[in-house]
Symmetry: C2
Subunit: 466 residues, 2 copies
């Protein structure tokens, strides 16, 4: 090679590289631009013509509570299948699974007896808990602030009702941290108390609402110890009860009626859009259709269900033909069994399905702020490139960790990358599992914006894979 | 210089530089760490022991509406001074200003006459508007979607009531954009209609709420044209009225009673913490104390007032001694005159005060998401360094542009850097200037988190200046 041609070749190479780079950048920019335009179209479609809010009205007001095994569950399943069909699914089916069938059995009641004077307390029996029997369970009450205090005072527990008065810590900015911190008292509290001979349990509700509604939720009896009746108590009554106890010994009376019927048949409700290029690659988006029996389950998780249906409706309304197969799933029995999510993954295993991504909305129909991803480093890097496309619609934060209870089994069985919508969390535990979780507590725009952000993420994953 | 010593000097210089750099970085890190700890303390103080929510209850439920000139205004001023005193102000005073005194004068009424059948419409007279006179103002109605349509159809306007049915655009993700887009019909609509001979105006409410409450707000008559009565109508009734009009000619009857009394004395309510190092440098934080007369003014702007008081309370509770003088200001008459904010800046000019920063909260007591800054490039760069300290509490976004109506005059007169708290905006226009803007529409934690973010920003500006 002579010294005069070297610079020339060098310059030519650089020129070629620059040209290629320009083409790549232009291509990427065009891709980003058309993605940006399509996401804007989806946002317009959802914000201007959504059926999510009206669907939520029907689900909460016409169907209402829909705990696994209840007649509400059956009605909700039928409604869900019809709604997915109406939204434009290529096909819709009901995937059978056996679900537990816990029944509250009557009106939960509690009172505190102070110097012979009886005061009613606003309580709700914990999900899965046993009834107090035919007569009222009346016993002296002992208040503890923690499991440590319970252990320290174990000698005093026998024959008593344990009152776990553990505060829902308002200092956590993200309220789910307060929930993680406190919910062991609901889940393990009854058995931990029974271990030391307690005959019943009252748990301070996991909430920092300003009202007095008690908040239910699952409890899990440890087979080593006696099952004892257990209720959650509203915050104002928790403070009142604590005040009575501070003034002198008091008794609490409980009447609860919970029991299990045999497992029964429930269903995941699934609508599908078949992929045009990679039909065997399945993307799942969903929420759970069941709710506790004491509320309309508007935020938990009617919101996730109607958002899921809305994404399907918007895709169809805009004529979007997905590359991959997208499943819109209303899961069964998240609240007290997770049988729906478990069955969904199990059947995927049996059929050898390839699940490439799953997204769940189960944190309320509030303004979207973030997505949390349980994905590999490489996948997260890819996802981060889409952040600027989604941020204008609310989810400005993409973080590691997150998903949803119902899609957890997919992640555990197949290492499927999963994500969860993380709306603003400040109000969630005002309503969670309480009678105040009603349609009126959901804001139309906040609900719709959640669907917009989810639709954008599903669209990008469908187009570019992970 | 000989060539052997040069590298040595060079290395020594580099070493010195690195050492200095290390000291600077360590110092900055320590500063950031202690700032981070102090902000965490303020958050705990506010989230665990705030008086903001209880103050808001008193202001909205015991005092209620407090339009400039009303007896509610006088009560609110007294309450505000006492609250600032109780929160620990070094001194509290009432800064006098003359305020307009518009009076609604009675119950606003409207009905639509279709084929001799009368149907009531839910309306509220626009602020500053005139009354319809002793008898009902009954006239044929013409519906227009825009000022362009009004001009195109100007021949049809004479003697009619103009119904501006301009939609509040739900496609804007940030609802304040929809407000900016639509509110000219409220502000200029009556005079624009009168220009072509209209005798009255009905304006579609600036809201995308799902209810039917009408939303008031200021209108400004142009002195070139006749003043005509003007009302806002709820969204459902707007659609209903539009439906009637589509079916054939209809008449609308209006009864409104608005009038002005002579200007009267109002006050900015000011609490102060004197600066320990730079007492002449004044930082202002505030909201406006007045509200429309048809609501409790909980979000607009009771929230901003009680957040302002809460920041003072938290500073005092933690024994924080500011370097600069901090003024906590509850401004008078934002809604229909801005006399309070104008007077505050005017008196600052007369006294030669040095105003180094001002912050306002006047966008509702919702979850904080951003601060908007009207500052120089250099100031913005400095502020951006604090973003990571504030983001954990909600304001993850720092953007250019923003402030508040009441602190606008400071910015215009002195070029004072100003900022506005920008909470999540989805629900704001559900309540704005409507009877639904009540205490119950405010969430305790969202309100408090706003105060946390504001306190953090004020603290950092006090410590480091701008």
């Amino acid at each position: 090679m002579n010294t005069t041609t070297t610079p020339f070749i060098f310059i030519r190479t650089i020129r070629t590289c620059l040209l290629l780079l320009a083409i790549i950048i232009a291509g990427a920019a065009m891709g980003q631009e058309s993605d940006s335009l399509f996401i804007r179209k989806m946002a317009d479609e959802i914000l201007l013509r959504s059926s999510a809010y009206e669907n939520l009205r029907v689900l909460t007001k016409q169907i209402g509570p829909r705990l696994a095994g209840s007649s509400g569950m059956v009605k909700a399943e039928r409604w869900g299948a019809a709604a997915l069909q109406a939204a434009g699914a290529d096909r819709t089916w009901m995937q059978e699974c056996m679900v537990p069938h816990w029944v509250r059995g009557g009106q939960d009641q509690a009172r505190v007896l102070v110097n012979g004077k009886s005061t009613t307390l606003d309580v709700v029996a914990l999900g899965n808990s046993i009834g107090s029997g035919k007569s009222e369970l009346m016993a002296p009450v002992i208040e503890v602030r923690s499991f440590e205090e319970l252990r320290q005072r174990e000698q005093e527990v026998k024959g008593k009702i344990v009152f776990y008065n553990y505060p829902f810590n308002a200092a956590f900015v993200r309220t789910f941290q307060a929930y993680s911190d406190a919910n062991k008292y609901r889940g393990q509290g009854p058995s931990q108390a029974a271990r030391y001979g307690a005959v019943g349990v009252v748990v301070r509700s996991m909430s920092h609402s300003a009202d007095n509604h008690p908040h239910t939720g699952s409890t899990r009896y440890d087979s080593l110890y006696n099952k004892v009746p257990a209720v959650a108590i509203g915050l104002q009554d928790a403070d009142r009860l604590s005040g009575f106890i501070a003034a002198g010994p008091v008794q609490v009376g409980l009447r609860t009626h919970g029991y299990f019927l045999p497992d029964t048949i429930g269903h995941n409700i699934i609508g599908e859009l078949k992929g045009s290029e990679f039909p065997n690659e399945i993307i799942t988006v969903g929420g759970h259709l069941d709710s506790w029996d004491n509320c309309e389950g508007a935020h938990d998780d009617g919101a996730g269900c109607v958002q899921t249906i809305e994404i399907l409706r918007a895709f169809k309304a805009l004529g979007y033909v997905p590359k991959r197969t997208i499943r819109f799933v209303l899961f069964a029995n998240e609240e007290n069994g997770l049988r729906g999510g478990t069955q969904y993954a199990e059947e995927a295993r049996q059929k050898g399905e390839k699940h490439v991504f799953a997204l769940e909305s189960d944190a309320g129909g509030f303004t979207p702020r973030a997505f949390g991803f349980t994905v590999s480093d490489a996948q997260f890097q890819k996802i981060l490139q889409w952040q600027s496309l989604i941020a204008p619609y609310g989810c400005t934060e993409f973080s590691r960790g997150g998903g949803g209870a119902d899609i957890g089994p997919l992640n555990r069985l197949f290492n499927t990358p999963v994500a969860g919508l993380q709306p603003d969390s400040q109000r969630y535990f005002d309503y969670h599992h309480a009678r105040s979780d009603v349609f009126e507590a959901v804001n139309k725009r906040e609900l719709e914006l959640g669907a917009v952000n989810m639709a954008a993420l599903i669209y990008l994953i469908d187009r570019y894979g992970l």
